[in-house]
Symmetry: C2
């Protein structure tokens, strides 16, 4: 692998390249590293490479002329990458793909950035090592070079080592232990001492699953889990922030078709579907709100049929879902009931397809992790302003960039709950 580093601080990499495995790889010829300083291509006496940004603002921007000359002078550029927080996030998969290239050039920006016309002049892929900002691309380039280099054949002493680490299986790595067997009263887990390969592999798989569940459940999105994995994970105690969330389905006051505020009738399947969502996602409860006494009586009969009546014997699963349903005359009554469940009043989060939003999904998720939250959905044409105005936050529409947003409240409740809690929370 031939790396070319384009940086105004080529000396940044001196110790990186003379330490540990990188030094050995360079010595063994597994990787070769050229360093080029754009300053050497500047034609003015100060070797200027930066200038003030058009449109104003703080900081300096790396200009085109010297950088373009630099890049055109490279004898073996290979694929061009630029380290930038606005780039595609580096992953182990991308590192493996890059390790198959013959040559890579890493352009390290400095200052506020690089004149963007560089992307019109060269085929450069911006790559990010994470959602944080550095003063320049050098530290990020070191991460990229190290992660790619160790996947180049000949870099690692034992090839197997690269396969058993975090991300190789799509999961985080299992914990390691070494001598002494007992340290300050802490023993090595006995499974590791059995000498049974299968038992050790099973123990390590379970620890990987557990660590991933607690720290990076998002990684499961790209992983295939076996039935055995799932059985294990179901039994792992975990925080269930979903319990903090209650859905309220409001039938009035809501917007009617003509734009007026009023009350709409209850739909049997709304109650069933949202109760099933509530139970499947482990919510604290499902609060049905209607100002009409006879509608509440009707809802009570429907729910009673399944909870205690003939429906219970026919479909006990449905009874379990509908046991989460409570009926309220108005939103205040729902808030009081939820407050009593949790010993503190819930935050009120409204939903609206009309916008503008005042709370992101990430912020709502964080709130659910901390305190009870009542997420309010409107029937008819959506919640009345009276409800929106008193909410602690209004979530964005589910499909903000779509010109068509006419989901049923049944589907919207499911999607919203999944957005907030995903497959695990």
């Amino acid at each position: 692998m031939h790396f070319t580093i384009v940086s105004i601080f080529p000396e940044f990499f001196d110790s990186f390249l003379s330490c540990g495995l990188m030094a050995k790889a360079v010595e063994a010829g597994v990787v070769a590293v050229d360093r080029i300083n754009p300053r050497d291509f500047a034609t003015d006496k100060h070797h200027t490479v930066d200038d003030r940004p058009y449109g104003g603002g703080p900081g300096m921007v790396m200009g085109l002329p010297t950088l373009v000359t630099t890049l055109r002078s490279l004898p073996k550029p290979g694929r061009l990458l630029m380290l930038s927080p606005a780039g595609r996030p580096l992953t182990q998969e991308i590192a493996a793909e890059l390790a198959t290239e013959e040559a890579l050039t890493l352009v390290c920006g400095r200052y506020e950035g690089i004149d963007a016309r560089i992307f019109d002049l060269f085929d450069i892929t911006p790559v990010s090592v994470g959602d944080f900002v550095l003063s320049g691309g050098e530290s990020a380039a070191a991460c990229l070079m190290e992660s790619v280099s160790r996947l180049v054949p000949g870099f690692m002493g034992k090839e197997a080592s690269a396969d058993e680490e975090s991300f190789a299986s799509g999961l985080l790595e299992y914990p390691h232990y070494t001598r002494p067997e007992m340290f300050e009263g802490l023993p090595v887990p006995p499974d590791l001492l059995t000498g049974h390969h299968a038992a050790i592999a099973a123990w390590r798989r379970r620890r990987s699953l557990e660590t991933t569940l607690h720290r990076r459940p998002d990684l499961f999105d790209a992983t295939i889990l076996s039935d055995e994995d799932l059985d294990f994970l179901r039994a792992v105690p975990r925080a269930r922030p979903g319990r903090n969330m209650h859905i309220a389905l409001v039938h009035g006051p809501v917007l009617l078709k003509d734009g007026k505020v009023g009350t709409v009738s209850l739909t049997n399947l709304d109650v069933h579907d949202i109760a099933r969502v509530s139970r499947t996602y482990g919510l604290g409860g499902f609060e049905v709100v209607s100002p009409l006494r006879d509608q509440l009586t009707l809802a009570g009969r429907i729910v009673g049929h399944w909870r205690e009546g003939p429906g219970l014997a026919a479909n006990p699963d449905r009874a379990e879902a509908l046991s989460l349903v409570r009926l309220h005359e108005d939103l205040d009554a729902a808030l009081v009931a939820v407050g009593k469940d949790h010993g503190q009043p819930p935050a009120l989060i409204a939903t609206s397809a009309r916008g503008p939003a005042t709370m992101s999904f990430a912020a709502a998720r964080e709130l659910i992790g901390k305190r009870p939250v009542l997420v309010v959905l409107g029937t008819g044409h959506g919640l009345a302003d009276a409800v929106l105005d008193r909410a602690d936050g209004i979530l964005p529409p589910l499909r903000p960039f779509s010109d068509y947003n006419h989901l049923s409240v049944r589907a919207a409740a499911g999607i919203l709950t999944d957005r907030l809690l995903g497959d695990i929370l």
Copy 2:
């Protein structure tokens, strides 16, 4: 800010600390860096810090005795962090939080990892700089130190500079331009030359939105967008991979309550709700499959009522959704129809709450980005084995760790579509 780096390669940081802004910050006393080598605390003549892992496997593990002695010797450890790919991902928000600490100790692992009992002995937070594997924590520690240091007051020449960058607004940064105004035929965008602050700010906001849309739409999850932002984003041309996806709702062959295979009746609201999901998410189509001729006739009448009949005038939005519905006698007919739409046969992705899955959501998403895909949902108690067996992949259940998985097919279709396409695709 006082950093202590615990590393068996303390010299790794020599040039990092003597380059650019880090060097200036050290010189100005804004940051102080101590480096400690655990080898110096080893008591054997080879200064050993690693040993073979219990349970076997390649590589070496950093042992406890010398590391524990090292950590206990630190005069000013502050908060303890360990760089590890299994850690919590570093973000700009976490960097800002860390920048408020008085002291941080960064433990750099080497080899396969560190004996996990270290976490029982010290309160150490594992931090990751990205989903890739390094040979040790040093390069990652450099990224962390740099991102944190530049948020320490006094590090940056102009404080404003740190606020206008990627992630400060929750979006990726806008592109920069500097002199010359014209370079090899490429002009600076004229908006930046107007001198009107509001116009420049609006241009930059739009470019930030656009870059984020194309490269990191996941960041919108944590962002509040104004109505103006949304109007702009709706008009930005974007790939719409959702068009490649069709949903098939199969009424037979499916599993019945008694475990036998058979056919279930069509539910009017299933057709409506899933059509509305299909239109809202911009799917290629919604294929309703029933082997019963009279059921298809009924479905045709329902759909016709809304598409051309009295329903069209009453609710044109519904007509638009139901225009995506097609009726088929069997899955093969649906596959042929979808194949004709796209000029190539679709991949067949099945769903099952029974498992085991053979395709992750991430893999299905990738497939949808490349070719037509028919995602099949079963009514009744789920798809029959005959359908599962011929599928190119079976997705995991939506709530794999829940003991209760009884969503209505209406809610499941919505959640599944949102999992695959999110708010943007």
